[in-house]
């Protein structure tokens, strides 16, 4: 077909990687299984940088279903590379095996985990996880892990709150927090367009210079 780009989102991990080995076109991973979602991480890091002026030295807490989250994986790689301290918060059933070896701290208590955080990234909870044995109920998850205004007070005063969307209001985050002055969720949406344009632009440029 002579396409210059293939943007692929796939339910199976590794598909963009394998495609990139056999295609001439640039392959952009738009999310593969529970593996990676690089452009989401880029836009998240861009948003953090815009709000905080930099990333190095920040404490970033990621809350929720880390095990099934490609957003979390890509953010972990990027944030650690840029010098942030990364904390993962969630029930042990949703923390993937061997994750500590990536250089993150793991917390089962949200209160401990968000203490003094500069940035909090809440992840979407796939509601079908309850009933699969990961969680007894959404209600119990709410009591243990939902980011509420009261919990938010444990973080730094100028903490920013992020979410890759779409939100389950009242599950991983309350509306009050999502719509508060700490929230940069709408900026994330805007930055998403800019970052993805930049990815395409850079790949075109690289092609011409090659």
């Amino acid at each position: 077909m002579g396409a210059d780009f293939v943007v692929i989102r796939h339910a199976s991990a590794g598909v963009p990687y394998c495609l990139s080995k056999i295609l001439k076109a640039s392959v952009i991973n738009a999310g593969d299984g529970a593996n990676e979602h690089p452009t989401q991480a880029l836009l998240d890091m861009f948003t953090i940088k815009s709000s905080k002026g930099g990333i190095e030295g920040l404490t970033v807490a990621i809350i929720g279903d880390i095990a099934h989250s490609r957003v979390a994986r890509s953010n972990i790689y990027g944030l650690i590379k840029l010098g942030a301290k990364v904390r993962l918060i969630g029930p042990p059933t949703l923390i993937p095996s061997g994750i500590k070896e990536f250089g993150v701290e793991v917390f089962n208590s949200i209160e401990d985990g968000i203490h003094d955080a500069d940035v909090i990234i809440t992840l979407r909870l796939q509601l079908e996880r309850q009933g699969k044995g990961f969680l007894p109920s959404v209600n119990e998850y709410f009591h243990l892990y939902t980011l509420t205004s009261r919990r938010l007070k444990l973080a730094k005063d100028d903490v920013i709150v992020m979410h890759p969307g779409p939100l389950n209001r009242g599950v991983e985050i309350t509306s009050k927090v999502a719509d508060s002055s700490h929230s940069v969720i709408l900026e994330q949406v805007t930055n998403g367009i800019a970052v993805r344009m930049a990815v395409l632009y850079l790949l075109t440029g690289a092609r011409e210079n090659a």
Binding site: Y17, G33, E101, F102
Partner: protein, 430 residues
């Protein structure tokens, strides 16, 4: 078929008779007539008798693979009895034991008879089928083991579809005592595996693939050992992949429980690192594990905790393996790389050559009650002649097997079968 011939000047290794020296074998009408180890009293051969000169080569009893998937009936696009037994011959195997997960499942004497009849007309080596433990391998009702045993099955297993119900496993182990054949257990708690596709750990998290913890195997090894102890039935643990299984089996043997075990070349040759590039040819069940598991398995081969090296030859069509990692089928085409990989254990000093031949020939024969794995006078002339120095590159395209799925592509292995004698035929392997 030659009526009479000699194999001379070869280095004979036959653990069943404690032979490990140069000698000659006389074969008549497809049977071994005599074995002489003393070099001096060379038989005067008349011109009518053919001589195979095995100078510089090793002569072994034909290898016995107690864990093979031949795919026929039902999956002839993956492998057939004809191609699978040719692959066996090329690998030095003169007997293979096909697992029952065909379509239809080998859970009744008619399927067993079909397999044996098909092998009689099209096969190159001997086949000793393994029947299903339960009807349809569904884990619910015992299959007609006695009828299948009469038809030629030598053991029973629901390989690939582990018997999850402990009560059914108890009954299978108990019932098998009537005819004293082993129940071969593919030890996997499928609830705990939860459709995982590789070893669970840092690497599975890094690749975003779902992991299978070692505990998934260990738990079932522990359960089946307890059920063997409870019933007195003979248990054989298939494809041991974990350090934990080794520990449990070692302990069970020390306590006198009737358990034997096998591992496969891939479990002592490569780790989970082989799946790094989403290489589906390294997707296998149980999954490839870690260095510490390899070490434990080698130790277990050395001290006898693991009795057998089997291939778990699991051929798949190239198109089926060319899928997303989590959707591709599990399995490695193993008959033609088993010897070369296993000889590395001898090179490393983990096994002696007699020890290795025991594990791929005599021990599986003993466990299954076969009159194989020996060069004793009167035995079938199943003989494998190996050039121990010959180096060769693994090239799946050149496999006799239809299954080209190997994670060892491009490896250079030392030691190769140059001749396999089976069913009165002499196969020269190029």
């Amino acid at each position: 078929m030659l009526k009479q011939f000699f194999i001379k000047n070869g280095h004979i290794v036959d653990p069943s008779q404690g032979i490990n020296s140069t000698g000659e074998i006389f074969i008549e009408n497809g049977k071994i007539k005599s074995v002489k180890v003393s070099k001096s009293q060379s038989v005067k051969d008349s011109d009518t008798k053919k001589v195979i000169d095995a100078e510089g080569l090793y002569v072994f009893p034909g290898f016995v693979d107690m864990h093979t998937h031949l795919r026929e009936p039902g999956f002839q696009h993956k492998e057939t009895i004809r191609t699978g037994t040719l692959a066996a011959i090329k690998g030095g195997f003169t007997s293979v034991c096909p697992m029952p997960n065909t379509n239809p499942v080998n859970d009744n004497e008619a399927v067993t008879e079909f397999i044996l009849r098909k092998n009689y007309s099209e096969g190159s080596c001997y086949i000793f089928p393994i029947g299903a433990v339960t009807k349809g391998q569904r884990g619910e009702e015992l299959a007609e083991m006695w009828m299948m045993k009469k038809a030629g099955c030598v053991a029973f297993s629901d390989d690939g579809m582990p018997v999850m119900n402990s009560l059914i496993m108890r009954r299978a182990l108990g019932y098998s005592k009537i005819f004293d054949v082993p129940i071969i257990s593919h030890c996997e708690d499928i609830n705990l595996s939860d459709k995982g596709v590789m070893n669970e750990g840092k690497l599975s998290t890094l690749l975003g693939l779902k992991g299978v913890p070692c505990a998934s195997e260990d738990i079932m090894v522990a359960r089946d050992i307890m059920l063997s102890e409870l019933t007195g039935g003979r248990l054989h643990i298939a494809h041991v992949s974990t350090k934990g299984s080794v520990r449990l089996i070692r302990d069970a043997k020390e306590r006198g429980i009737r358990v034997t075990a096998e591992t496969c070349p891939h479990y002592f040759s490569i780790t989970e690192a082989a799946v790094k590039d989403y290489n589906t040819n390294a997707k296998v069940n149980p999954p490839l594990r870690r260095d510490e598991d390899i070490e434990a398995i080698k130790e277990a081969l050395k001290d006898g905790t693991i009795d057998v090296i089997a291939t778990d030859h699991a051929p798949h069509h190239t198109d089926e393996k060319m899928l997303e990692f989590d959707r591709a089928p599990s399995g490695i085409s193993g008959l033609e790389t088993a010897l070369g990989l296993s000889l590395r254990l001898v090179e490393e000093g983990i096994l002696t050559i007699e020890g290795l031949i025991g594990k791929i020939s005599l021990n599986p024969s003993k466990i299954l009650g076969l009159e194989k794995g020996t060069l004793k006078a009167g035995a079938d002339a199943d003989i494998t002649i190996v050039d121990m120095k010959k180096e060769h590159k693994v090239e799946a395209e050149r496999f006799e097997s239809m299954g080209k799925n190997t994670p060892f592509e491009g490896w250079v292995l030392k030691g190769r079968t140059v001749m396999t004698i089976c069913k009165g035929n002499i196969f020269e392997i190029s």
